[in-house]
């Protein structure tokens, strides 16, 4: 982290009404996302991660900048997808929870039932995704419907990828939300690929934001690698939703620099393309922009980085030796009533 820019003598006010502290916080969440994923890579290589590992390298700004536009004090909600670790951290998810999830620990938020970042918390306002892409759009429409029905000034945000937008459930959900003028913001992350499938094989549109027209809602497009641009595009949509103005579709243009999952060798992505986007790295850019504008010093940001590393050391240390869930807990809570599934007869035979 050695930016070659020097700070201005008298810094301009940060944009979008953000405070200096808020800018630092956004940097914090981006860096936390990246560092946490780097820890997970280590743990993955040590085979301590049970399933696959999914990275958001190069996409931290889109997750953080969009989620940051929500108002947690008002009870806003979001539903992330696999590359939205950053959004979850903004919403209050902790590194320890994430580590426990990946390592299937008993104390993980899903008690070892679901993998990686598939979890949520109604208190903090996020709902865990299921794997079936698109399904969270109707679900979040239902959450937003409850806000509208109860006349609560709350907003729901739901993430979709360039690939997820091809699903029928995406279409049904966003259309439902649009017709009902629900307080909802749909963040579409255009990272160029859906697994190995490039965007032109996923859709014939040139820009994903063009899809907003089909639902009669406004569409906004922003540079997904510029955290302030992301925030600047999202915040007005969130506030319009809160004031009864209905849904907005926001396309954030970014790039998936790692493979779909850690085991994917990215043979289908050209090295030139990857390098080009590396040069546009959202964290490097953030540092440059902040320092150049005088919103942070290199030292301040380095201090944040150090704080994060300590936090992560602590979290990894805390959970590495934790046990996995006890087998019998697998039967709890399929239903509220009965609260436990039956133990199969062959497990009730002694000896």
């Amino acid at each position: 982290m050695t930016p070659t820019v020097s700070p201005p003598v008298s810094p301009a006010a940060p944009p979008h009404g953000l405070s200096r502290a808020q800018l630092h916080e956004m940097y914090y969440f981006m860096r936390l996302t990246r560092s946490l994923e780097e820890r997970l890579v280590n743990l993955y290589r040590q085979t301590k991660v049970i399933g696959g590992l999914f990275r958001s390298l190069g996409q931290e700004a889109d997750s953080v900048g969009s989620a940051y536009a929500l108002d947690r004090g008002q009870g806003d909600f979001l539903s992330p997808l696999i590359r939205n670790l950053g959004s979850m951290l903004v919403q209050g998810a902790t590194p320890l929870e994430i580590l426990r999830q990946y390592m299937a620990k008993a104390e993980s938020p899903t008690r070892g039932r679901e993998l990686n970042i598939h979890y949520g918390d109604l208190e903090r306002g996020f709902i865990g995704q299921i794997s079936h892409l698109g399904d969270m759009v109707p679900v979040m429409a239902g959450v937003a419907l409850s806000f509208k029905m109860r006349k609560q000034p709350r907003v729901g945000m739901v993430y979709v990828g360039d690939g997820a937008m091809s699903t029928g459930t995406f279409h049904e959900g966003i259309n439902f939300a649009a017709v009902q003028r629900l307080p909802m913001v749909i963040i579409c992350e255009n990272n160029g690929y859906s697994f190995s499938t490039p965007m032109h094989k996923q859709t014939a549109v040139r820009q994903l934001v063009d899809k907003a027209a089909a639902y009669g809602i406004p569409g906004v497009r922003a540079d997904g690698n510029d955290v302030l641009a992301v925030y600047g595009a999202t915040k007005p949509a969130v506030e319009r939703a809160r004031q009864g103005g209905g849904c907005t579709l926001i396309e954030l243009v970014t790039y998936r620099r790692k493979g779909h999952a850690e085991h994917d060798n990215q043979s289908y992505q050209s090295t030139g393309e990857i390098a080009e986007w590396e040069a546009k790295d959202p964290i490097d850019r953030c540092i440059r922009d902040y320092v150049e504008a005088g919103w942070a010093t290199v030292e301040e940001l380095a201090e944040i980085d150090a704080r994060i590393l300590a936090l992560l050391d602590d979290a990894v240390g805390h959970c590495e030796d934790e046990p996995m869930p006890a087998a019998g807990t697998a039967l709890d809570g399929v239903l509220a009533d009965p609260a436990r599934a039956e133990l199969e007869w062959y497990r009730r035979i002694d000896g």
Partner: protein, 326 residues
């Protein structure tokens, strides 16, 4: 006391619950101004307004998904499928999202998905289905199938109050054909998970549910008159969770079991019941558990064909005689 139809009983049940609990609301296609394709929600828009009676686009997955999201937030949605055949469009949402929400994430998902099911109405392959079997193997769901007006009311009320997602499959053949005196002030709450002995008997049990209960009762009457057979008819009412206790009690009493359902045989619910009886009451069986079901074909439209494919009272009589003579 007032004589009400099966449909009216269902309507009243929903109405009572909506009056009782602000959190209950209705969504579905044409449920508002039109009052639903079969008029089950007739008058609801007038009484509860657009906030609680929501006409949706033709989007079964969104209807179910939105119901789930709202349920997480403490509401109690009742989603209508215009014909239950269209629930297949929400199959993913129900089996993967709704059914697992509590287990995966501790998310409360109190919601009801209901709609007109069943044949004998010349509805052809896509307006006659019985989707019980499609959801029976999904842990996390409950399934109820009322046969009587009392249970139509009692089960919708219990379903709405239940803290788990409930699929409520009403039978459209019964809508206006079944009438019953239901006391006006009485709070009818049929417990979910409990079967009902629709007719006591000693020689043989017919296990069934929904519209088939009436064919079983007709068959039982004929068998009593013509053959002197005492046939018990067990109306399961709830399929998930299944009332093993009631099933085994009847099996142990009669030792001869016919399972009758309207849906096709292979992979149908009768298989599960047969396995449970095998498992829990094998020694009491004096004869193989036999099934009377539809033939294994999509349900055809022409009356001649539909009547042939679906099980009829005569079939039950023939099958019961065979079983009694075994």
């Amino acid at each position: 006391m007032a004589e009400v139809t099966y449909l009216e009983a269902l309507r009243q049940g929903m109405m009572e619950e909506m009056r009782r609990d602000e959190n209950v609301f209705i969504l579905g296609e044409d449920v508002g101004a039109y009052g639903g394709a079969f008029k089950v929600t007739d008058g609801f828009l007038a009484e509860f307004g657009e906030r609680r009676v929501i006409d949706t686009p033709i989007s079964e997955a969104a209807i179910v998904g939105a119901a789930a999201g709202a349920a997480h937030m403490g509401l109690r949605p009742v989603a209508e499928m215009q014909f239950i055949d269209f629930i297949s469009c929400a199959y993913d949402m129900l089996t993967n999202y709704v059914a697992t929400a509590r287990y995966r994430a501790g998310l409360p998902t109190p919601m009801v998905v209901r709609g007109p099911s069943g044949g004998y109405v010349r509805g052809g392959p896509f307006h006659s289905q019985n989707p019980e079997a499609a959801f029976l193997h999904t842990p996390g769901l409950k399934i109820v199938c009322p046969a009587t007006a009392r249970d139509a009311k009692g089960l919708i009320k219990s379903a709405i109050r239940d803290d788990d997602p409930v699929l409520y499959f009403e039978h459209k053949f019964l809508y206006r054909r079944i009438k019953e005196d239901l006391p006006e002030g009485e709070e009818i709450l049929t417990p979910i998970g409990k079967a009902r002995v629709a007719r006591e008997g000693r020689d043989l049990t017919i296990i069934t549910w929904s519209a088939m209960v009436y064919k079983a009762l007709e068959a039982a009457e004929r068998l009593e008159k013509e053959d002197g057979l005492s046939v018990e008819v067990l109306d399961l009412r709830t399929l998930l969770p299944m009332d093993d206790e009631a099933i085994m009690a009847s099996v142990k009493k009669t030792s001869r079991v016919l399972i009758a359902h309207e849906d096709t045989r292979t992979g149908g619910v009768a298989g599960e019941i047969t396995a449970r009886i095998n498992d829990q009451a094998f020694e009491w069986l004096d004869a193989p558990v036999k099934r009377v079901t539809a033939h294994d074909v999509p349900l055809p439209y022409a009356p001649t064909l539909e009547d042939f494919v679906l099980p009829q009272t005569d079939d039950l009589v023939v099958a019961a005689r065979w079983l009694a003579a075994y």
